[in-house]
Symmetry: C2
Subunit: 609 residues, 2 copies
Amino acid sequence: MATSTLTKLATRVRYDILHMTTEAGSGHPTSSLSATDLLTGLFFGGTFRFDLNHPQNPCNDRIIFSKGHASPLFYALYAAAGVLSQEELLTYRRMGSPLEGHPTPRFAYAEAATGSLGQGLGIGVGIAMNGRYVDKLLYNTYVLMGDSEVAEGSVWEAAELASHYQLDNLVGILDVNRLGQRGETMLDWELETYEARFAAFGWHTIVLEDGHNIDAVQAAYGEIDHACGRPTVLIARTIKGKGVSFLENQDGWHGKTLNREQFDRAVLELGPVDLNLHGTIEPPVEAVPAVWAPVPVDQPVSAKTLSPREAYGRALVDIAPTHPGMVVLDAEVSNSTFAITFRDAYPERFFEMYIAEQNMISAALGFSTRGKIPFVSTFAAFFSRAFDQIRMAQYALDRANIKFVGSHVGVSIGPDGPSQMGLEDIALFRTLVGSVVLYPADDITTAALVRQMADHHGICYMRTTRQELPRLYKTGEEFPIGGSKTLRHSDDDRVTLVGGGITLHEALKAADTLAAADIHARVIDLYSVKPLDLVTLHKAAAETAAIITIEDHYAEGGIGEAVAAALSDVATPVFSLAVRKLPMSGKPEELLAYEDIDAAAIVRRVQEL
Amino acid sequence: MATSTLTKLATRVRYDILHMTTEAGSGHPTSSLSATDLLTGLFFGGTFRFDLNHPQNPCNDRIIFSKGHASPLFYALYAAAGVLSQEELLTYRRMGSPLEGHPTPRFAYAEAATGSLGQGLGIGVGIAMNGRYVDKLLYNTYVLMGDSEVAEGSVWEAAELASHYQLDNLVGILDVNRLGQRGETMLDWELETYEARFAAFGWHTIVLEDGHNIDAVQAAYGEIDHACGRPTVLIARTIKGKGVSFLENQDGWHGKTLNREQFDRAVLELGPVDLNLHGTIEPPVEAVPAVWAPVPVDQPVSAKTLSPREAYGRALVDIAPTHPGMVVLDAEVSNSTFAITFRDAYPERFFEMYIAEQNMISAALGFSTRGKIPFVSTFAAFFSRAFDQIRMAQYALDRANIKFVGSHVGVSIGPDGPSQMGLEDIALFRTLVGSVVLYPADDITTAALVRQMADHHGICYMRTTRQELPRLYKTGEEFPIGGSKTLRHSDDDRVTLVGGGITLHEALKAADTLAAADIHARVIDLYSVKPLDLVTLHKAAAETAAIITIEDHYAEGGIGEAVAAALSDVATPVFSLAVRKLPMSGKPEELLAYEDIDAAAIVRRVQEL
């Protein structure tokens, strides 16, 4: 497309940005205007290749607006491409419109939800890894970043992994407009410092002194080398509010919209706008994604009972042949989480993501948007570090199909101390809308739940226990999501003990002790913490005098509160035994006793009632 | 101290590392051995200055083991310094011992808890900022980092802020031993890549090709320039397991201890060990910390009712004269959180931490360990990004005295959409042991609670509302932590409505509507979500037929579950109205209605009962 046409398209895009934000009364026009020429050039200058009629075409290039607040630009580009009408544009930020304040996949052309800054590059890493190593397609992935957001460490996690995996199909576009929300960025217009940082992180860098000169923009895209073995970043000096004199490079205009009078003045400055002018996006290079047909691996039967974490690794290997969409990611602890078992069997679908959990989650989301089933493992405690990325994944709607597996849960890991103990993981993952939270108490359950997770579309979390736990079930037993198992049961049950993982075994021991004193306790294995088996819990509430939950997790947001809330309309009391004191190093059994969540504590609690 | 003595001390330190880990049966000897010469040189070579008898002397240098798993080295150094006996060393990792698996301040010489990797440098940034800008003392801060952990983005957040704030009193020591937990790091022994990265982030770099040559180590420390306006990093090539032939540079020995036979062999290799040899640490440069005596600022009375976030900013200014220990940190959104009001009044105690939330939290912890009272603000949603740092802060025990303030909570922020909505913040902060969680519903409450937080020693969280909310209370009203306010009350109350923030106002509207239909509802302002006012809640449960909680927060881990759990032994049912559907952009009132948490939904729920 000729420069003059691109310039006219950029004017049209600017008009739409101002129009839709003024109409909405909120939004970020100035942050959109700075990147308008960069993105107009990308979309309509022949670089970006996309089939607008088939957004899920696997060969399409992908674009992620990491600076999600530039959503007016995002939508205006699709209007310029002819797939959004003026009427649709003007629904921006209205309830029910796909054009949300920050992009989400309610809009078909958004890959994922953005708006929490610094996450787009990691999503791009996952999409690029998928293209290079899994689907083996020639598509490229572009990520628009703001300069303020590259202060986020997650950007540098993505940067280091992108170069480590030689993702020359990944392109970052850095919109250096100098101004953040409340003033200057740390680096102002120091393009050379941004360049030095990306170069040190292994990137091919292209510096563009004027991100508003369409010819220069096009020349910069021409410098991208998709065969150089390195990701590329285009670092562009831009002007916030570009195109409207009273907005340009002005502090105090972040996240502010023009009123009608200002809008009219701005439009006069833009000059003639042709709303009938549409740009053309080049079609993708069509090809067929690689097919993975993993050969089943015969795993020798273990002589000993496996810990849940060991069972996790074996289960991943077992399900691979029936789940060719799966990929496995781990944060440099695969020999602890036992993801290593999968790596050894199927190295082509295992990705070492090193100690950079935020990027691992974003990359998993990237894989997921491309139709893969990522299993992501680390110590349960360390998911807390990436909880913003996890939170944002839910807003990717049905594109988020990630299986999180956290090992080393609870005080029962013992001597390593509290920094390594997952004690808030249930609370965190339960908050996600529609999430599944699972907690197996033996190796059979673990294996069954891994398969359940793979077959369930959506965000699932499983916490695995470090220790070997005695086997409770027979091979072939089924563990549907939302179910539970009642392991002790009689007509004389006076109390119900609800446990999961290691505390289920403590509950069983307590029930045996109580039975010797002729106190019968029902024992429920709450392997599905969310959703809960309400039928079984209500039955227990009706048939026994009290329910006691026992969990190796902090009291807040855990099993106790989940059950108490589920039974809050029932008169039967619910008591919670949980971790309430700050833990420390010690032996597992000492710590279970210290926190009053071992069999003895359960017996004491029952006797008190 | 002569090289020969330092060498002998290093041997003694190595012996203790092996001895204590073999005795404990767990721990990370090889990760300790790689840094032994670096740290022995630092401690006893005259660089590190510390008064061992007064660990809290404000003039002491500070050392943080960011690679917390090298705790055996940490403790062995203090044994070599003469403040830990052999008997004490051998309590390593035992229940009740201050020598935990990863350092915590149960050991008096640990500044904070480490063990979740990549956090130490940020803590060091806070301590160094305190020295430079607040206490104005000449102490230096040293941070030992592993090479695996610099994959964490949080390290690069700390790196960029350290250079931005010109912290030439901060020194990173990077132990490049090439091997992570499950194998090679991304960069192996590429010292030049580490150097390029730190240099690009504005650091003075010193590369040490042999981190085991004591003379070279000493020479490297001599190159530190505390007047160069830049932080320094010493990048040292080391060998994991150094000193024991069968451990050196071997994969598979991470986090593994020697058995007795291996220990005996290792000790033979070390050669003569003199356990009576002690090193001397240089004393600190004594000086008096700067005193801050802020002059009260007269704030004009606002003509309009303030939103809670606006009231927050003004309250910070109001309490400054009586709280000279306070510092205020914000993540580039101070004009949204209204921390900017404090910045404008007292710029000398305000620190812009840019969009790097993980480092902001770690730096706040650093300030807190030096006796300051940091107030830390950003959008509530974005604390989720730093929840590992927040989680770890609690393990700093009474050194964590941080006040977190999250703005923009709930779906009621409206058109910006879900990425900006704090909907899990209550759940997250409630999990922390001993935490305080507050939720003001008007400007008067906000101001009172800011003062309460400042006066309460420990971790506090307050969520503030974006919108203006009608004033409910009179100036001078008291809001003790753990209290509540009953705003509607009669002898005929049939139901109790429990709200906080914006939903309290919806509850009041609902109560008015219901009263018109002669249904009397008690209304409780649950401004203290943790701890709860159990007396008032139990009274309401006893006096009304049902309790309905209403919250602009996800159902899990929020107000509803907190109240349901607190009243789980009471027959009165508790019903929860909370955010249960994935939110989207819209008008605040539309979204409150969509989620069934507005006045109409409350009325409907009461009528259903």
